[in-house]
Amino acid sequence: MAIRPTKIPNRSFTPTQAMPDIVDIAVTTDGFSTLVAAVQAADLVDVLKSPGPFTVFAPTDDAFAKLPPGTVQTLVQNPPQLARILKYHVVSGKYARADLAEMEELTSVEGSAIALDLSDNFEVKNATVVLPDVEADNGMIHVIDTVILMG
């Protein structure tokens, strides 16, 4: 499998190149080790490697670190509960920033709505997208600075 080292790939892949999938990108990019560990603990690797396509709002390690102590530990101990929180960060379909410009909300794979606000910045609920439009073979990743929660 062709995995490009460390750098987030830009969107100028030619069809002949094997494009990494969502999981490959998260694994090979610095700053997503918590997310990768969580996806593994929740047994969602295969889902996120499937054809999809998915749009993933990917919280950075710093985003997870902002949660009070114990939050991640309890979730990692309980894979179904963790999976639910992670599924809230995933939307079915491939949406680039431009596709979302006029939209007010998306429905997550978890089932709850995710509010969007692209009027000033690119905001997903109470998170701000710090790096939009990372294209993967099976979807699109937008990197966010806060873990988003249902409600």
Binding site: Q73, K125, N126, G151
Partner: protein, 436 residues
């Protein structure tokens, strides 16, 4: 001559015009709905401790009823908890805990065990005599809270998926398997089940809420004990510290599974499996707060209501009979549930709180009212913690520098305070130390 004015930082958003603007500004600066005074801190921590002791019984017995007593047709002994459940190690305290944030051993609290032996009469009567004399932990209070959650179904839906699950075919099938196993040696009950399946399933729904509330309180008991210990060690500077401790606790266990298991001859039947992904925060804590703190049922102690005359709201969401609105007056009639809780807490007050009540109002004679009002103050603080936890989870930091974000926080706080505008709310009262 030039005068250099102190550089006052202009607030990024204008002040609120809400009737509770003062409280909202306090929340925006990281405070609680309860004013930050040493007296308030002392009261709420003392009552958390007095609450945690009976709660340590409530959660164990709720799980005992949900998992063992189950559909016992004549459940006379459901409050006679088995030794196994009295000894259950708490999942969130003790050396074997899933998460070791709170100290404590995980075993039943020593004051609880002492009380269960001797009771208020302080005599070693047989258990049945203590029970009939009502000299015991009042499990009826815990059941009233559970029933409030059951009555007010659909709370916090659709994010709360627990309640919707109770109406699924999958849940029915799980119930069916459990009921058949439980009554496998009881053809009479199996016959009744065949005739009235819905009634049985509805009873199991209630038992699922026993489990829900038990799992919720299993966490709260060690949290409150820990807060009492921290206070005794001088660890809390003020009411906001106590509130923030609760906020952190809410996050720490937010992902705890909420489930309902039944044990028949040691075999586990998963009525609501852990794999459904139901969580402590969404499926237990938030519905609990809504049902018990805000809504409950129209019994307020001295007053009864006439639903036909429109004195009770038609929409259940507008019910406002919870502790945040309660006229705390313990009479043994319409207001039984709060009366029972006060009676449970009076046995476990720390000395400083006993001394404090002695100095006010009618001293020992109206101690139940005094501690009930302290309890009300303490629950305004817990509600503040829930409001801040929601703000932290769904909105923005208090020190955010984006005015749009601060405005979103403001609107959230105002929306929460709107619920206390109605005259029955006690938010105004608790602002004054003289409300007792």
């Amino acid at each position: 001559m030039t005068v250099s004015l102190p550089k006052a930082e202009l607030p990024l958003i204008p002040p609120s015009n809400h009737p509770f603007a003062d409280v909202i500004h306090r929340l925006e600066s990281g405070g609680s709905m309860l004013p930050d005074t040493p007296e308030n801190l002392m009261q709420i921590i003392g009552i958390y401790k007095a609450y945690a002791v009976p709660m340590d019984f409530y959660w164990r017995d709720l799980l005992y009823i949900a998992e063992q007593v189950f559909l016992e047709p004549l459940p006379f002994f459901k409050y006679f908890i088995s030794q196994e459940y009295l000894d259950l190690p708490n999942h969130y305290a003790g050396d074997g805990a899933d998460l070791r944030i709170w100290r404590g051993t995980g075993a039943a609290h020593p004051e609880l065990l002492a009380f269960m032996k001797q009771g208020e009469v302080n005599r070693r009567w047989p258990k049945l005599l203590h029970h009939l004399w009502h000299d015991r932990i009042n499990m009826e209070f815990a059941e009233a809270c559970m029933r409030a959650m059951l009555w007010h179904r659909q709370m916090y839906a659709p994010v709360n998926k627990f309640d919707a699950y109770l109406d699924t075919e999958e849940y029915r099938e799980n119930c069916d398997r459990a009921i058949r196993a439980y009554f496998k040696n009881n053809p009479a009950m199996l016959g009744l089940y065949k005739l009235f399946p819905d009634m049985f399933v509805e009873k199991v729904r209630e038992l699922s809420y026993y489990s829900n509330l038990g799992l919720f309180w299993e966490v709260m008991a060690p949290v409150f004990f820990e807060m009492s210990d921290i206070y005794d060690e001088g660890g809390f500077e003020g009411v906001p510290d106590a509130m923030n401790f609760l906020v952190n606790g809410i996050f720490a266990v937010a992902g705890r599974p909420i489930y309902h298991h039944l044990y028949v001859d040691g075999e586990c039947f998963e009525i609501i499996p852990k794999s459904k992904g139901f969580t402590w925060l969404y499926e237990a804590a938030l519905p609990y707060v809504e049902a018990v703190f805000y809504r409950t049922a129209p019994f307020r102690g001295t007053k009864s209501y006439n639903a036909q005359a429109g004195q009770v709201p038609e929409v259940q969401a507008n019910f406002h009979y919870g502790i945040l609105y309660a006229d705390v007056f313990p009479v043994g009639t319409a207001g039984i549930p709060p009366t029972l809780l006060m009676q449970d807490m009076v046995h476990f007050l720390p000395q400083y709180l006993k001394d404090y009540y002695q100095q006010h109002s009618r001293g020992k004679d109206d101690i139940l009212i005094q501690l009930g009002i302290t309890f009300q103050r303490s629950m305004y603080n817990v509600t503040s913690a829930v409001i801040h936890a929601l703000r932290q989870a769904l909105l923005h930091p208090l020190d955010d520098d984006n005015p749009k974000h601060l405005m979103a926080n403001r609107q959230f706080f105002e929306m929460q305070m709107d619920r206390f505008i109605r005259p029955e709310a006690r938010l105004r009262d608790i602002q004054s130390p003289d409300y007792r």
